[in-house]
Symmetry: none
Subunit: 233 residues, 4 copies
DNA sequence: TATGAATGAGAGTTCATTCAT
DNA sequence: GATGAATGAACTCTCATTCAT
């Protein structure tokens, strides 16, 4: 038995075994849980691992969350609330033409959500939606719907100002939404598994997408949107 | 690995349905497994359920697949191989302007992959990529890369014929890919959990996306792609 | 590693690891569970121990009983059903004066219930009644009530034939019941913990009780049942 | 074993209630523990619940009792000592015929023990005897034996005075004891779970039992105690 | 003295895997 | 080949006990 086990440690290496930080704990646990749920999925994540990553024992986790499922719900709630409104507010005061609004929209989204760990929640929801239908609906209600509403307002502004062409607003929202979603999903699942010589820069991806959203691929947009096919099978 | 030795080679598609009940077993198991893996994820799927859905006993499953993990890999392999080449071939012989090619591309993809259960494999891969990195790489190698190569050829064709504007081809592929991917992911996860009064028609979604991919939102595509922002924060 | 582990055992000592006896298992488990529940109580009994005593693994127990609580209920049900009717039937055909009926009643009860492991169920019910109120009610319905009804019939017979004195039948049943119950409870709890030089013979206990039930302590039963107390505190 | 040092000796009953809040703690804990142990059994009772019912924190409980098991032992000790001597003394000075003594004995027992929470200790001991053999022996030594000794003295008095018939004193004690015990056990376990339309009055139960103990069921006690059975199976 | 956050061994339960039939 | 009873490692969750405050 080393003789200094009971003394004050010489270095501040060994952290105190039992630190009492009731306020900090839930947050640390939620963060750890978000990481692991995103990485491995709900079922494949062990609560021991969540606790360990948060630096506490398994028992402590259950002190704050009555079950693994409630932990999951808390993770989703925690990471949803606030994020969207933050984004929303940043856009309210913007002045300029609607193309600029849209560009700015992407930029703010990327900074505040897309590039942060919060984007993992989207991957999580897509993975677990079927196992947690109520949470999935909650997510749609609190995130997808408001997000599409915001996009819809921007598109409408563009149409009203004669900047954007007429379109079905309902489906138009997905034009803006889909590339965002895809990027978040990609970055949180297959992206990290990319082949070694692959290079992928989210900023470049975003720039390309925005450019296309605004102008499309065609040199001249003019003549009829989708011309009838010729003689193909 | 007994299961590879006992069932028909992957390239010998469309084996005769008649008589040979035994030969059909692995296929039924793979189909059942695909359904359940897509729906609940790998970890949350019980092999009992897979076997039950395939109408066999749990023991029989292990006769064909040495472990749950191997079953997973087989599911991915089975649903990847062939599907893509099928799609690829359909496009090779196409004649017409490149907008039409792209439109046709979407149409074929939707018919042969997007609208079928094969789309579930995409959701599965996104959900489980981090847990099965080798499979994720395999999927990228066998699906994502060829798919993007195909799209790249189409885009290049458009550029060469003066139909499409110049662009970075590497990121340009995602313009076409992202909306497809998003649709497959959505349909296999949150889509079915949509709020009751929500209506969502994949065909309308595709039409809107293709329209935008080709022409963008802006009325006049002309001048500078992304004009500099004015005086905003 | 002993060299004959993989051979046919020379003696039939080592039982086969995995014997398939679907029919026998539940019974063996119920028996083991009864023993342990009676001995240690519901909460203090571990399912591992039940399984071990039944000679199977923990997993096997859950193959037959979905939970520890259901196992408990099954134990009670199993040991209640039939026992009482058996006893009941044995008395139906009895001929003789009612004192003899009562004596015979005690004798049959002792042989078929009191002296058997079934008596443990009474101790179990008394211990766990508050934790399993539904089962306790079930037990009262199925055991206590019929038992008292049987006793009531006997008492009534005695009264009608002028053999027994008039009494309140409702409470009269407890005259017969209480000594039986006490014996079962005693034998299954404190009895085995008796002090070393203590001797206690159930048969002698029963004989003494029956004798008192029939004749009481007093030499002459005649003069007034409970005379008023004199000048005591 | 800190708890013995910090609370009042067991013989110093009825400590002054005033002022000393701290001194009252162990008593409150023991009372709460008795309630819960009786109600749920030792294993199913959580120390948190005991502490909560006593209005203190879990940590405080362990300040007075080094473990749950020691708490249990203390509960038994506390509720055994004194009660019996109290009862015993009340009977010593009694004057009258022995039937009256016995009746008075039941009355005092009921008032001081049977109808009080102290009766719960009997249920507790019967439930947990096998799990705490030493305590069970202690209980027998301190309660059962003295109790039977008291009863034996009464019976002997009756026999000596020619009031009671001759009998085996050892087993005779159970004639008086069993109905008491049964009542305490019943009231603390199945009684509260009785079917709704059931009515059960302890006082009536006691009256009936005492009447029978003294006089028996038979109209004429006269001839041979248990006549030989006739021609029955 | 009193607290209650923290612990971790241990409980019930699940489920991929095995194997006698 | 096919079965499903049996297994046991691994999981979630509980709770008696500890200890910094």
């Amino acid at each position: 038995m080393p003789h200094n086990t009971s003394h004050t440690p010489l270095t501040n290496e060994a952290a105190p075994k039992r630190s009492r930080r009731k306020e900090a704990r839930p947050g640390e646990l939620l963060e750890a849980a978000l990481d692991l749920f995103v990485e491995k999925g709900f079922a494949a994540t062990r609560v021991d691992d969540v606790a360990a990553r948060a630096g506490v024992s398994k028992g402590t986790l259950f002190l704050y969350f009555p079950s693994k499922e409630e932990l999951f719900k808390a993770v989703v709630r925690e990471n949803i609330v606030g994020r969207f409104t933050e984004w929303n507010n940043a856009l309210e005061s913007f002045v300029g033409n609607t193309s600029e609004v849209l560009t700015y929209c992407y930029q703010v989204w990327w900074e505040r959500i897309g590039a942060t760990k919060a984007s993992g929640i989207t991957k999580l929801m897509f993975s677990e939606a079927q196992n947690f239908p109520e949470i999935a609906q909650f997510y749609q209600q609190e995130v997808i719907l408001p997000c599409r509403a915001l996009i819809r307002r921007i598109l409408q502004r563009g149409m009203e100002r004669g900047e954007f062409r007429q379109m079905d607003l309902e489906y138009g929202t997905y034009i803006v939404l889909a590339p965002m979603m895809f990027l978040m999903l990609w970055n949180n699942s297959m992206g990290p598994c990319s082949l070694p010589d692959e290079v992928f820069t989210p900023e470049q991806y975003i720039r390309t997408q925005i450019d296309n959203i605004l102008h499309g691929l065609c040199v001249r947009p003019a003549a009829g949107a989708t011309p009838p096919p010729s003689q193909n099978p």
